[in-house]
Amino acid sequence: MEMPAPNTMVLSGKARIVARLRSVLPADAVIDDEAETRAYECDALTAYRCPPLAAVLPRTTAEVAAVLRICHEEGVPVVPRGSGTSLAGGALPTADCVILGVARMNAVLETDYDNRFIRVQSGRTNLSVTGAVEADGFFYAPDPSSQLACAIAGNIAMNSGGAHCLKYGVTTNNLLGVTLVQMDGTVLEIGGPYMDPGGLDLLGVICGSEGQLGVVTEATLRILPKPEGARPVLIGFDANEVAGACVSDIIKAGVLPVAIEFMDRPCIEATEAFAKAGYPDCEALLIVEVEGSAAEIDEQLALIKAIALRHNPVEFREAADEDQAKRIWLGRKSAFGAMGQINDYMCLDGTIPVSSLPYVLRRIGEMSKEIGLDVANVFHAGDGNMHPLILFDANKPGDLERCEALGADILRLCVEVGGCLTGEHGVGIEKRDLMTVQFTPDDLEAQLRVKDVFDPKWLLNPAKVFPLAATASRRAG
């Protein structure tokens, strides 16, 4: 993966830059020792690594502003980092950058149940936001699968989703306001504990901008009352097409499940060998979860069952109790771990129109055979967000390259059928060079102009999201 050559003026000015950072931060908040900066050399896209010039771990918005002001004056690129769980390389450093980690900013600042919001520092982890309100019957809806570790800052940067967004939306639909520090150190309050902006929706474009428009230090998040209950069913089918048709019929019938998860045969077999959840031997299975009181759940599941039975399922499995419900989810929740046991894998994240599902799965099967790498599919069927897992062997020369080539072809296919490159992981460096598949030069130019407005010197996370060739003149200043 090509990254820009480091700025030699910055590299040679390291001592001065680090001294200036130390002058505005506590001693333990600046890391420049080469052994220690290694801890920040990559995120969850571990194939690519590069230690930064330095890392800083501020504790307040004022400290973040002071750091950014110095980096702005010195012309030092800044790569913001939440918990470093990006699968797209969103927090990958360059040798001339300062990593700005928000992990120490993890306080709950305000909880307001009457107005249904919580205000937190952005380094707080996703799951611990729910943790702060669940005893009082509330939760924070976006639930990316890394939710135990990932930070709200990263969720906002990538507009993270999760399994339950068919009903509750993604981060942007649950974000009310942010404290944003601009690259020149200006601190802005955007939005707050009220609905919708009075002017342009700046919050809407900040969310999902992958740390390129500013550093979010605090966030006001919408919290929701927990549903009375939830229950899944498992439905097995002997063809992907039939499972796809069943999803479409459920949605058309007016039921709105909170989650519809889909697994294909390679995925079922791998997870069965690993987790032994007792899944049926079939081509495709759906896990459909609905919410409400016991009676409401019964009513919705009866409707779903009637629809599923019209499609002659191999099996329709209901959960009589909490234990059986857990077993239905067990295989799905173990899917990524199961793949990791078999081999190295790359997880893709394209979204497709739900109606294209059978065609796309068939094409992925053919492409997988042609290139000789296995692909298992697990995805959020209700919203078309796929997660094909390509298995490869990192120790085998050429395998990573073949895997990346197949991944790129699958993402091109997603765009070809009317979908997109990434549904919830973000572009980062991983899909940067495929942006021209989805966007025309004019489409990209409109986005680049937004960055020009927020960060005229192009110092914030500059080598991400867009093809390097498209941003070269801007990054050169």
């Binding site: 993604v170 009220y194 609905m195 927020f454």
Partner: protein, 361 residues
Amino acid sequence: MRPATEAELAEIIRATNAPISVRGGGTRAIGAARGAVLHTGGLAGVELYEPGALTLVARAGTPLAEVEALLAAEGQRLPFEVPDLRAMLGRVGASTLGGVVAENASGPRRVQVGACRDSLIGVRFVDGSGTVVKNGGRVMKNVTGYDLVKLLAGSRGQLGVITEVSFKLLPMPEAGATLILSGLSDAQAVQAMAAALGSPFEVNGAAHWPGQGTFLRVEGFSASVAYRAARLRAHLAAFGAVEVEAGTDRWPAIRDVAPFAARPGDVWRLSVKPTDAPGIVARLGAEAVLYDWGGGLIWALMAPGADLRGRLGAFQGHATRLRGDGPGALHPEPAGVAALTRGLRAAFDPRGILSPAEAEA
């Protein structure tokens, strides 16, 4: 000017140097048009509707009524309950999808399903230089590149002329019910609405109309609606008797601010922290108010020319005048935010020709 295609529209913008005001049906824009009026009605038609994927793509000039009828035939709807403000604003004409998006127009159901911008998943637009730009698409989970979809929603014609919009849809409910509490003070009403919205019973409308009552709405499958209405009634027992009315016939009047239609005066729309609302209303000296969104939205009827901002002082949120004359209709932005707004307008419309009157309103 009434272009029939996006290409024709782009050509018109490239060829002019004069201000352009963009109009769909002319039913909800704030401020009078200045310069040439560009009508989007020629850019009409539904391009894709997949009920099984809850997805609709249509050209921006498509009449809202036509789309609502098409969706209703399949038992679906736009989630965010578009207000019809024609009677209140004294306008005629037929709302278009583009106009709805440009104003981010959202009704009572906003408390549960979000605003127009939350259901909008794709746009095409022509910027102030005449360049065609697309962003988002027809899938509901998409984080590829910057989210210009949100930026265009509510941009009131200032960043570009929207030519195509994509929405995610929701199923129409089988049944609905309205719960009515009577005799509550504004403060008690906001507390009752907070209790209802903080319950797991999926309240999707919460409004207080002083003198008329406090109204809560539930929708869904019939048995579910009956169950939730009963549980809510018990949940709200501390606020007095709760009457349960079958159906949701009262809600269009709330959505459309119907009580203000026949009365003279300025009409203001305030977005606030819900529990601040009664205190804000006490400072306003309004002739009438209507609370929606659990108190988060205040509709205020004021004497013509009344200095609402002066009476209000600082508060968290914003106020916009939808009916009335003179400057100051839009909420002033803090300097840093205003600088970004100016920068974005210059980036998308370097010649400053798009909707200048709307920007100054």
